[in-house]
Symmetry: C2
Subunit: 129 residues, 2 copies
DNA sequence: GCTTGACTTGAAGTGCACTCTAACTTTCAG
DNA sequence: CTGAAAGTTAGAGTGCACTTCAAGTCAAGC
């Protein structure tokens, strides 16, 4: 079970900079890392998975402060299951709304581009005559 | 044709603060506004529509600097139709990718929530016995 | 023994998109 | 005539999420 890794390796695994990882720890998004005898951070598989989940939350627009709140609940253990569930439900709702918004904008963009295509063709006809 | 409006009115129409509207002008996202004899900004229907389009671009994640570039092309007139078309196409591509990403994350969240629901039920059974 | 590279810390700096402040003028209702 | 409400400007301040800097420790290779 020697799957303990360094910040550098976690950085490579997740794409985050080592700076960002330490920053997340300072913000309470990651729990204070276990340390090697020399004081260096050591992460295990569970840490990797948690960070990957964090990045998914973040990529869907959850601010770090909110992720930190979720992390705090998680640290409280099973007693916070319902609270965490609610937080995820709320985020899921926002996410669904956001996706719908983006889809609506994408459609409007499509329409705009159709009129652009027409205008460009008209221009080309003029140039060709 | 007295549909000229003030910053305050444009602010109410778009939900942006008057500060933000002037800020957008300073950044080149909005062209320098026409002025009333007293120096106050006056906007017309075309300005409103452009700003609404700008807000759509922005809400879909386009940074102001890029919107400004688009605005500059637009100011150049029909000669930039093809360029603008390309810009919109590129943005549409990014938007499609983004929507797919969000949808994937939403699905993973769904799965996570299913396991949460199970864990909560197990907990309740334990408490009930 | 010295260099290189990875790690440590706290603090300062960056970029974006505003947001607010200060000092001012103009317009209008009472 | 006064005071409130709206406008003007330049510039400083804010919040977020890093990023960079400065100054150091520690282990391995030459």
């Amino acid at each position: 079970m020697n799957d303990l890794i360094t910040v550098g390796e976690l950085s490579r695994l997740t794409g985050l900079s080592t700076h960002a990882i330490r920053f997340y720890e300072a913000k309470g998004v990651l729990r204070p890392a276990n340390r090697a005898p020399n004081g260096h951070r050591r992460y295990n598989q569970a840490d990797v998975q948690w960070l990957e989940f964090v990045l998914r939350l973040k990529s869907t627009g959850m601010p770090l402060a909110e992720i930190r709140d979720y992390a705090e609940q998680r640290a409280a253990g099973d007693i916070s299951l319902v609270t965490r569930m609610h937080m995820l439900e709320q985020h899921q709702d926002r996410l669904t709304t956001r996706i719908a918004e983006l889809a609506a904008c994408a459609q409007l963009l499509d329409e705009k581009m159709r009129t652009y295509r027409k205008a460009i063709l008209a221009q080309q006809r003029k140039a060709a005559k």
